[in-house]
Symmetry: none
Subunit: 407 residues, 2 copies
């Protein structure tokens, strides 16, 4: 509904400098003091460039989904792109396919696959097949790709890591209301896939996959320890309205990790080629600057170091990203947003529910009294506390890209 309003009001920029928007996402940016009374990661970091942006722009706190909810990366980014993450859910199978850069098409059915070990009676004895090396997993995927088939459909069996793989099925009339085969415990055999709805497509899709599972298990029977497999999170592209259509923006995504490229592609952004480092992402931004109106640039390692529980390393990543801010400013965007998709405090070693620092900078931003970029500064920032999905409409407005509502 809100998205429909934005779609109606979206217009080409009225600003003289073209109204380019940069959404810079430091994954898992928000933090916590590692010891009582201390600073958070962002507060501890020396960030002269971000602080200058804070002085000139405005700060706030962004709630990714709702108070108390810790988001996964999928819903975290959907919120930042302006979608209601509770409305558009990206299934686990789809995320797995996106995570290996698989070019998923609109009606593909995707599943996360796990190799496992079963005993002579077919009962699972190890749900992860002894965490086989990735090379073994890759070889098994090759065998399944060659030695199994679903008549009338294309299948893709792609290794992910160790015992994990992705199965993608392409063809007519595939449905995604399907149960998983993993019983989530050992001592029992894998479950058959059950249709969760009784329409003909769902029933037929379940039958096709059960047949494929039987073939796959025959192929694996003489392997060990990966002599069987499970399928989980069977899902299709949730049909997210396309970002460029809603916002009337030529939109590009720059990300090192496949999953973020995948989510951006699912939303209709173009994914730009880039290297493995954050510096190379900046090179990409500069190289393609003239060709797009909107850039989503994703910095992964704030989250990684938070998940490691390494406060000091997360601080260092933030300081490195701070250094890139001058390169972004030099491009003269109309609006620069710096935020995260969620918090990942080193203290908790995981995604958390804490609201995320938000910085909005640009010539039409109403400045507040904040002079540094940090959690406590953001708490009293001029943008207040808002939902992540409200950031894109703000960015659009600041870029002169939203028409007046009503006469």
């Amino acid at each position: 509904m809100e998205l429909e309003l934005i779609r109606e009001l979206a217009q080409p920029s009225t600003l003289p400098n073209g109204g380019k928007i940069v959404l810079a996402v430091m994954d898992g940016l928000g933090g916590l003091p590692i010891e009582p009374g201390g600073p958070t990661e962002l507060e501890a970091a020396h960030t002269p460039n971000l602080d200058q942006l804070a002085r000139e722009g405005a700060l706030g706190l962004s709630t990714p989904i709702a108070p108390g909810i810790s988001p996964g990366s999928g819903p975290g980014h959907l919120g930042l792109f302006g979608y209601d993450p509770l409305r558009y859910e990206i299934g686990r199978g789809v995320l797995e396919a996106l995570g290996i850069d698989f070019p998923l098409q609109a009606n593909d059915l995707a599943a996360r696959g796990n190799f496992c070990t079963v005993d002579e009676q077919g009962r699972i004895v190890d749900r992860r097949a002894g965490r086989i090396p990735s090379e073994v997993g890759a070889r098994l995927c090759e065998r399944l790709q060659k030695e199994t088939a679903i008549p009338g459909y294309e299948i893709f069996v792609r290794p992910v890591k160790e015992y994990r793989f992705a199965l993608i099925v392409r063809g007519p009339g595939l449905a995604d209301g399907l149960s998983e085969t993993d019983p989530q415990r050992t001592g029992v055999p894998p479950l058959p896939i059950q249709p969760l709805r009784d329409d003909p497509d769902t029933v037929r899709t379940a039958a096709l996959l059960n047949d494929w599972l039987a073939q796959a298990r025959r192929v694996l029977a003489n392997e060990y320890p990966a002599n069987s497999l499970n399928l989980r999170g069977l899902a299709k592209d949730p049909g997210i309205p396309k970002f460029p259509d809603i916002y009337k923006l030529k939109a590009a995504a720059i990300a090192v990790y496949p999953m973020y490229r995948g989510v951006a592609r699912l939303c209709g952004m173009e994914v730009l080629p880039t290297g493995e480092t954050m510096a190379s992402e900046l090179d990409t931004l500069e190289r393609y600057w003239d060709q797009y109106d909107f850039f989503f640039i994703h910095f992964k390692y704030t989250d990684s170091r938070g998940e490691d529980g390494d406060f000091t390393a997360k601080v260092k990543v933030i300081e490195e990203i701070d250094g890139y801010m001058s390169r972004i400013r030099a491009l003269r965007p109309s609006v620069l947003i710096v935020t995260g998709d969620h918090s990942t405090p080193a203290l908790l070693r995981s995604h958390s529910w804490h609201p995320v620092p938000l910085l909005v900078w640009g010539p039409t931003v109403r400045p507040d009294e904040c002079v540094t970029f940090g959690e406590r500064s953001c708490m009293r920032g001029g943008l207040g506390h808002l939902l992540a999905k409200e950031i894109m409409p703000l960015a659009m407005a600041h870029a002169g890209r939203l028409a007046k509502f009503g006469a």
Copy 2:
């Protein structure tokens, strides 16, 4: 919808100390300066323990229902328990039954009754029967209990106070879409109960009650001044989803006043036996600490002194409660919430719409810059301004009791 999300994500605590939550409610906590330029009740109170919690935790302002709305105690508490108070309405009759600790069952129909005085033509001359003493009201209830009946149903006629009583009807097929008999003015006779829907159950329930009213008026005819009666707010348990099911918490309520025990019971909490004083409520909390995951502890007298218009007395109650905070801390909860169900400024002598001070304390809380617990401090607290129903999801997250949403 949001409650469904919480229900899906709720999990046993991942925290090493067990993830216990204490929700300490100071009824009517929020206040106003009694004279321009002065402090509010909470600001005037000497609260070293609450201030220490404020320094270590985070503050905010809680809006019970929506801006401008002054809640009754029912909706005020439903919000604090995480329900949308606009969705689940507890009827007046149900509240009256809860207020006398009546063990209401799921399909009971409850009404608030008022004795009144009528003239020879049956026209109401005093809607409160001269505010008869409670002993007289109790005797009349005993008569009605003995001398009236609804064949096939159980009835309970229970005194409340002075001219007020509660009528509870128990049996098959009772409906609650019924009009009231009180015309809200004198000079006219009581109205008959009308079915507000035309389904058979509602029509039949109205007929049963009109028959009972005729019996009751015959019994009262020789009494004076309470020679007739009215029924108001006929209602059933609104079928609130059970708190322990939603949050997967073993939940207990500690309250001196029956109505708060009743609302908690209606939500599925277990009501613990306690004495008449706040100190005895703390004794109860300590005694049952090991047996529950969640404690709602209700402090009534902040509201009572606010309703009295007694600023100084409300300050003293707050100071007494402040003293109990060290006993709560000593129990080492994972999350301690201190707030109110609404504001009751002594200046206004009534419930008000002003947002309520909110304090959230625990090891995973992101601290803000506030150092005292008071309205002005809460206005710039790190939790921002939120709705009362958002507090429980936050508490759950801080207790390690909410799984991540999405992958």
